[in-house]
Amino acid sequence: MSWTALRSLSRAMFLGFVRDRAALVFSILIPVLFLVLFGSIYKSTSAPRVSVVEVGRVSLLDQAEAAAPGSLGKVLSVTHSGDLAASLDAVRKGNEDAVVQQQGRTLIVHYSIADQTRAGIVQALFSSIVQQADAAAAGGTAGYQLTALQVEDKSLKPIQYLAPGLLGWAIASGGAFGAAITLVSWRQNKLLRRLRLAPVSVGSVVLARVGVSLVVALIQLAAFLAIATLPYFGLKLSADWWMAIPVVICGTLAFMSIGLLVGAFATTQQAATAIANVIILPMAFLGGAFVPLDFAPAWIRDVSYAMPLRYLVIGMQNVMARGETAASALPAIGILLALTAALTLAAVRVFRWDAV
């Protein structure tokens, strides 16, 4: 294998990529825009403040506020209204979480169970307000006191699943489309044949193409990390985040081998793009890239084990966001490499130099 040939082939392919605006936009700009967009949209959904409409006067709320100034405002936002029907309608439509009224010593809470979490919070909140008021009215000092200590929040913040998910999708698309379209267009314009007629090994050509794809994938990784760790998005990288680099490399190889197989069958670029889309897009939903598996229905979680993208996304997520050890990514790496080997072998068997 000639180093001169390898270097100049890599250079030619990399220049081809960098000068191709469409490729740059699709592989880097669009995924980054998705990250910024979804990162911003889902950023503020984690604080579950309950919004309540106070119809008429509810003295219990005033008492609770007086008993512990400021604390009620953390969990409750209260607006006032004189129109019960309109307020109930707002609850039905989900614009407000509850309506409260007080009739003498009876507190009436109207809520919707459309959002069960909210419904639970509303019920718990108001029964505790009533109990406190009862205790105060009885004049007794409370025998028991509750001190709540928050444990470290292990649930994922949106950015923690958005960043690895979207990055996984970007890397999968980049690898699969890159390999498939290169193969098909080189076969179409006979560059493949021209290279075969030059004293250069197939290995050099493949290695150069893989090298370029890996560089692109690492640029994608760097761009995502740079944006996700901005204070605005607030991704905190865990200690072993660097293990995401080998995961990205193995993921790129796996998806390039998928692209190679697609390119071996497709005869036109349009067909290659369509087939790659049919593979990658459903996988993005079923493999945890667009829909985080933690929140996905059980059947998607089951199906995801058959999706190569799952291992790329979960592998990155574990070491980047969940704070797991570097070793936790090894099974994902193993599966991605095994897949690469199997698919490459299959692609070599059906490989065609020429269209006819």
């Binding site: 040939a5 081809g16 267009s185 007629l197």
Partner: protein
């Protein structure tokens, strides 16, 4: 005693079938060192398949094949640096300039960039060096493609329809380049279905159809062999109808006279006598003498019916 120099290309009993179709059916020929050899034929005649087997891109079903004394199949790394293959004008890397293209191809043969840049000058693309390949005109792209095929200074060059879609100026321009390549001592093998191209460039041509070689020889010899009448035409109105008739004396051998009001045309196998007759009547204005061309040979051999 000196052993005769082996032919640059030697083909004996070459066959290749695709399913039931015999694309190349028992083809034999030799190409000598320094020769400009053309393979002519209608579409689907088997010329491209023949060329691909010579280049080592396809495995022959049967027959003996030696290129520069070596078997081209399986892919022979010892042979590849000695042959140059010009493919379509679009066989380039995406988004690279002319200079970057040829330097990349040069590096595949361990040829320095300096030599690649020189080659760009040889094909007259110095001014287009920084233009991307896809922005070059058809003729320029074809020149670049030829430069890329020649960058490693091969002894033997294969060209498949090099002037395919070029305008007349670009074609003539390219012919000069091809002649020069051959004059530099390289053996050139070219396929084409342009008869004028083969006639003007090739030392010898093989006319193929249905996978077989129908005729093989220098274009002029093939034309002479055809033995068709020469067409002599002059401006109308210089001769009376009777005088004109008198010129075509030997009607038995196919002599004929026609006058379409623009030109008076005499077809004859005795052009000397007709020309002398015209000269003695001072009726040579607008004289044109047309012999048979390679195209006539080709049509005679392959038939005139249209094939898609």
């Amino acid at each position: 005693m000196v052993a005769p120099m082996p032919a640059t290309i030697s083909v004996r009993g070459l066959r290749k079938s695709y399913g039931a179709v015999a694309a190349v059916d028992d083809v034999s020929f030799e190409v000598e060192r320094g020769e400009f050899f053309g393979i002519l034929g209608p579409n689907g005649a088997g010329k491209t398949t023949t060329l691909e087997m010579l280049e080592g891109l396809r495995e022959p079903d049967d027959g003996e094949l030696s290129v520069l004394g070596l078997p081209p199949w399986p892919r022979n790394p010892a042979l590849l640096p000695r042959i140059g293959v010009q493919l379509q004008a679009s066989s380039f890397f995406e988004k690279l300039t002319a200079r970057e293209q040829i330097r990349t191809f040069a590096s595949l043969y361990d040829v320095p960039s300096r030599r690649a840049d020189q080659m760009l000058g040889v094909v007259g693309l110095d001014e287009q060096a920084d233009i991307r390949a896809e922005k070059l005109s058809g003729g320029q792209a074809q020149r670049l493609s030829i430069a890329c095929a020649l960058v490693h200074d091969p002894e033997l060059v294969f060209m498949d329809e090099p002037t395919g879609a070029l305008d007349p100026q670009a074609r003539r321009n390219l012919w000069d380049l091809l002649r020069q390549i051959n004059a530099d001592g390289r053996t050139v093998v070219l396929t084409t279905h342009h008869m004028d191209e083969a006639e003007t460039l090739c030392d010898r041509v093989a006319i193929m159809d249905h996978g077989q070689i129908l005729q093989l020889g220098p274009p002029a010899a093939l034309v002479r062999q055809l033995d068709t009448p020469v067409r002599i035409s002059v401006e109308s109105g210089q001769l009376t109808a009777a005088d004109a008739k008198a010129l075509a004396r030997d009607e038995a051998s196919g002599d004929a006279v026609s006058d379409d009001g623009v030109s008076l045309t005499v077809s004859t196998r005795d052009p000397g006598a007709v020309l002398a007759g015209l000269a003695s009547r001072n009726a040579l204005a607008g004289l044109r003498v047309q012999g048979a061309t390679l195209e006539d040979v080709f049509l005679e051999l392959t038939g005139r019916e249209y094939r898609a």
